[in-house]
Symmetry: C2
Subunit: 431 residues, 2 copies
Amino acid sequence: MDDAIKAGAGGQEIAAMMNEMGRKARSAAGVLANSGAEVKNRALMAMAAALRAEAPRILAANAKDMAAGEARGLAGSFLDRLMLDEGRIEAMAASLEDIAGLEDPVGSVIASWTRPNGLKIERVRTPLGVIGIIYESRPNVTADAGALCLKSGNAVILRGGSDSVHSSRAIHACLARGLRQAGLPEEAIQIVPTTDREAVRLMLGGLGGQIDVIVPRGGKGLISRVQTEARVPVFSHLEGICHVYVDKDADIGMAREITVNAKMRRTGICGAAETLLVDRAVAETHLKPLVDGLIEAGCEVRGDAASQGMDGRIKPADEEDWSTEYLAPIISLKLVDGVDAAAAHIAEYGSSHTESIITDNDETAARFLSLVDSAIVMHNASTQFADGGEFGMGAEIGIATGRMHARGPVGVEQLTSFKYVVTGSGQVRPK
Amino acid sequence: MDDAIKAGAGGQEIAAMMNEMGRKARSAAGVLANSGAEVKNRALMAMAAALRAEAPRILAANAKDMAAGEARGLAGSFLDRLMLDEGRIEAMAASLEDIAGLEDPVGSVIASWTRPNGLKIERVRTPLGVIGIIYESRPNVTADAGALCLKSGNAVILRGGSDSVHSSRAIHACLARGLRQAGLPEEAIQIVPTTDREAVRLMLGGLGGQIDVIVPRGGKGLISRVQTEARVPVFSHLEGICHVYVDKDADIGMAREITVNAKMRRTGICGAAETLLVDRAVAETHLKPLVDGLIEAGCEVRGDAASQGMDGRIKPADEEDWSTEYLAPIISLKLVDGVDAAAAHIAEYGSSHTESIITDNDETAARFLSLVDSAIVMHNASTQFADGGEFGMGAEIGIATGRMHARGPVGVEQLTSFKYVVTGSGQVRPK
């Protein structure tokens, strides 16, 4: 890692360095695209071994970041995300081994057909090229993102937050060692050696066509900036305002259990429910047990006037609550007139992430699943399952709510493109 | 069609109108996304009938455009693209019927699996939303693009060239009638009622998030402007600098036939070959028959110094020839040292569109198909097959060379996104 270029370096110097990183990444991408599964997996296993072997060095680097963070008075939750210990390093190493164990997407034939003239047409997965990852404090993103990009045959340029700079560099050194040991170019996984924000601005511009897609990982401020400024495609979601709709034909026991899990299992993840919609037709019977469950689990409930009128424990919700991602033990609650009204509320206030209907009526469920245009729509399941691992896709680099290319969990398959391979026996096209 | 807003209308007025079109398109997209195949096909058949019934009116409108074009001294090739006659109107109507006959992509399950906890996960095709089409003189794009977007459940905003404005409006009126007759919102297919270029600028900005993707159809100037200025995803290719590589293990008869077809069948299409690469190892035997075939077919051959030295009929090529899309009976020719050198030349000068290797050696073919990162790579077939119809995908809206979302021919499937539909029986996520 070159520390020569520090924060505050001149813009021209940074531009030259970033362009050089882009060129090297593109060149490495060409090598990776034609490297087989075996060599990539060998590199991933070597990276895992290096992480374990270098644990003391990583912990020492992390201690520097933690001390600096405490000195700057960073919040406890932030420091917790930043902190590494033996267990977290082992988890990173194990994650690299899991990624090595995933099926290699590159070269797999997605579709195949033969034309009447004998031409055989195959749609074959190829890497996307060069991925730019812009992230904040979690140092483990360095390993996870680097490994997912490598597995999918992509070169990657990582730009971590300044708060985790020492930790990320120590982890990156282990990845580089793994690449070297497998005979792959080190430039396949590069980390930006400056914390100057100019580097981010340049990455969002695509480095003159050298970055194919940007994946931001972090808080709403970062994602919003990336979505607004990027001139290349972005895989991301700004927020997860997820809804649970309890239909009149819901089993109330199931509805209560799913609602409490969807909200309270972990309140800080993007798949956590933020709004509960209850069919007005069953409010008399269903509202109380749902509110009971939430309050017993320690959740504050903010409802519309109608629901408050039925249950004194419900606090008033205002207009802003419907579009608030609390990421905390608070839920907004509204009575709606059936599935169409639920879908209309979601269309107006949702973030196209994940919504679930609880009902025993398959027709109503089908209508909800069709009407609601979110990356993930569920029937009788908790929104907290919105996760690449839970989907069986292996590790994920994030969840995308855009409609283009990748939607939902972004795993190794979603980090690929495809090309058409046409095999003939001398066919020429008639006039 | 409202003629009230003419070229030169104020920018604010145009912005208000375009934003209103965007809102209406988004609203219509919501209806289309939940309309079945049957009603969409009914609209397409009604459109075809309307085109036939209104042929005299369309021809009269086209005559106005032709007269204006001749008065402005437009080139003959341009006027030919603009011209409509009974046959071309019938072809448009038949194309709508063909599109009605395609399988409906919306709602089809692309992948499906069940998790150990019983959750069933399906990846289901959904429309993209709202497509913006920006095109030039061909009035038939109005019908083709409108129909493909409708079939794939998308609303569309069409912006045709000023030269074909009367023809496009007459055709659009038939599409609107078909939508009305099927009970679908007319706003599903809108045409911009002004030829002011400000409308194009606004579309490229996405109309405040109301346009999901732009598809440009026309010359290099238009495509280049769209690719540079668009703030939303674009499906397009700037040019088709397609290569044929004749390997040392090629059957010379097949190589000659494919090369002549790839270059000369139609020289003006994007899949036409522009550069012929010949393996130096067989230049002595293979060069002459290849050049014979091209010259007999009326093609000018421009080669590197080595090839000129071997065949006096070859004119000199300069550096610029390797990156020139002639779209004319001219081909550039270079001797290369085997498949790796061929792939390296293509990586440097190609446009990632379509390339073909001619060889009887399957290993060499596999290496070419893997090394070359183009939307379409071929073995022993003519590059002129680069076409959605020839691929069996039905009509296409264009060919994309970007790596994101759609690559290669863009048909109805490529105009869709997907969502995950998760079906459970009460599953909650464990801690």
